[in-house]
């Protein structure tokens, strides 16, 4: 599903975020990327979502090397990936329903189907009935769940999350992680970047531990 082969990433500032990272994540895996701040977790997710391109090395997502995807293909490629952010990146001037519907609107899904799938996604994250609420009316945990609903509404085969519990208390963090586990249980490949080792311990999933832009430890699936 995802393969990194001697991947380097140096930003224009000169900072080397990744220095020869190699790993493989199989289809249907739940994988935690962990390590201290600046270890390269977010850079890996950015390379997977084509927000950044590697300086050197090869990244394969699905069956495609990302290097073969040109600027015009990026949008279509991203529709196959659900992305969850620490700051959830919701549109605060739009209702929850519109936020969740966004990937479907972009994909050109008919309105009736959108409504159905939005309700289903919100149901999955426990927010059914909040379609008309504005994100500001929700708690931090609920906002994060809206972000997750938006990420999964398009039924992507791959879900990536960058510090999705960074702004949440331990109970809400656990709740969010359980959601990821539930999506993984139905076959979605899930990659979560987090430095919350205590949380990870409760799931016993595969870990890729990063340090100084390198893979320090990998636990088997």
């Amino acid at each position: 599903m995802i393969q990194f082969d001697q991947v380097h990433k140096r930003y224009p500032s000169g900072r080397e975020a990744l220095a020869g990272v190699s790993f493989k994540i199989e289809r249907g895996d739940l994988t935690f990327l962990t390590g201290p701040s600046g270890a390269g977790k977010s850079s890996i997710l950015k390379l997977i979502a084509l927000i950044e391109r590697p300086t050197r090395g090869r990244v394969v997502v699905g069956d495609r090397a990302t290097a073969s995807i040109g600027a015009r293909g990026v949008a279509q490629f991203r529709r196959q990936i659900g992305v969850v952010f620490q700051d959830n990146k919701l549109l605060f001037d739009r209702p929850v329903g519109d936020n969740v519907a966004l990937p479907l609107i972009i994909a050109g899904v008919p309105r009736k189907e959108i409504d159905k799938r939005v309700r289903a996604a919100l149901d999955q994250v426990g927010l059914l009935g909040k379609e008309r609420n504005r994100p500001m009316e929700l708690s931090a945990g609920e906002q994060q769940r809206v972000g997750i609903a938006r990420a999964v509404v398009g039924k992507p085969p791959l879900l990536i999350a960058d510090e999705p519990t960074g702004n949440l208390d331990p109970d809400l963090s656990l709740e969010v992680m359980r959601l990821f586990k539930r999506f993984n249980d139905v076959g979605v490949t899930v990659v979560v970047a987090t430095h919350d080792l205590h949380l990870i311990d409760q799931f016993g999933a595969r870990r890729i531990v990063l340090g100084d832009g390198r893979v320090a430890v990998q636990t088997p699936t």
Partner: protein, 306 residues
């Protein structure tokens, strides 16, 4: 996506972009007002030109050619020449004034009746007053017609008294060129105003654009609402321009009418007709769209998720 869904999506975006404009009524009105003034200026020039043309519809009479025949030309010869001239495409009318009729008119209006009695013979020749066709009422057309008439046997002299009309036509032509230039420049101005407004809108909605791109939105998808906003700004500006011109026409038509009446004319200042007004709106919308397309294409491409 089905065709119906495609158009429904566009209609939704169209209405949504109007809603966004309505959300900031003062700023939107300011933009539309600037666009409206920029469109109203060349539109006023156009209207002046149209009215000048309207006022001058009888000017081809001023291009009438007085064709003096040779003294030896008989009445029958004169009428034959008149018939020949009437057959030309560049002639709309020919009036025949035979020498005795000319003398009688001269006697009646000149006040030299007694002096004319002293003449042994009628010194006036047979004359044709040739009115050119409207299409030929240009300096070049008149010159061609004059040359053709002079080539006819029996014609002694052709006189045109149209210098003032030529000057006026030259001024109108100049004004037309100025109007075109002003229209072009202000059209570019409208594009820039719409483009700059859209640029600011894009910068304000940077986060939203980033999110759209992150979830798979193409540049075209992200750009669409901004293009519709550009069209709305253009249409709003166009409507304001039409309103401004209507107010200007209403304000000056009275004084112009009074002035015209003092000169014995029935001239009335005409406003814009419906087809022209529709063209103005369409052009304004198009300029708004074009300006927003240029700005949106450039700036949206530069925004990427981070």
């Amino acid at each position: 996506m089905s065709v119906g869904a495609y158009f429904a999506r566009h209609a939704q975006t169209l209405v949504g972009s109007l809603g966004r404009i309505a959300d900031a009524p003062f700023a939107s009105l300011m933009t539309m007002a600037v666009i409206g003034i920029a469109i109203a200026l060349p539109l006023c020039l156009y209207l002046i030109l149209q009215n000048a043309r309207q006022a001058g519809t009888g000017w081809n009479d001023a291009f009438n050619l007085s064709v003096y025949l040779a003294k030896s030309a008989t009445g029958a010869q004169t009428r034959r020449i008149a018939v020949r001239l009437r057959g030309r495409g560049d002639v709309s009318a020919v009036r025949v004034i035979l020498a005795p009729q000319a003398l009688a008119e001269f006697r009646k209006y000149s006040g030299f009746g007694a002096a004319l009695d002293a003449l042994a013979a009628n010194p006036l020749p047979n004359t044709l007053i040739v009115t050119p066709a409207p299409g030929a009422s240009t300096p070049a057309g008149i010159a061609t017609l004059k040359k053709a008439i002079l080539d006819l046997t029996g014609v002694d002299r052709v006189q045109i008294d149209s210098e003032w009309v030529e000057r006026l036509l030259a001024m109108i032509a100049l004004l037309q060129r100025v109007a075109l230039l002003a229209g072009g420049l202000l059209g570019v101005g409208v594009m820039l105003i719409a483009g700059n407004t859209i640029r600011l809108d894009i910068l304000n909605r940077r986060t939203e654009i980033e999110v759209m791109k992150l979830v798979g939105g193409t540049d075209g998808f992200v750009r669409r609402p901004f293009l519709y906003s550009g069209i709305w700004y253009g249409l709003g500006g166009g409507l304001l321009a039409l309103a401004l011109v209507a107010v200007a026409v209403a304000a000056i038509s009275g004084p112009i009418g009074r002035l015209a009446r003092l000169y014995g004319s029935q001239f009335r200042l005409a406003g814009l007709d419906l087809p022209t007004a529709m063209c103005v709106l369409a052009a304004a919308g198009l300029l708004g769209w074009l300006g927003s397309w240029l700005a949106a294409t450039q700036h949206i491409r530069a925004i990427n998720p981070s």
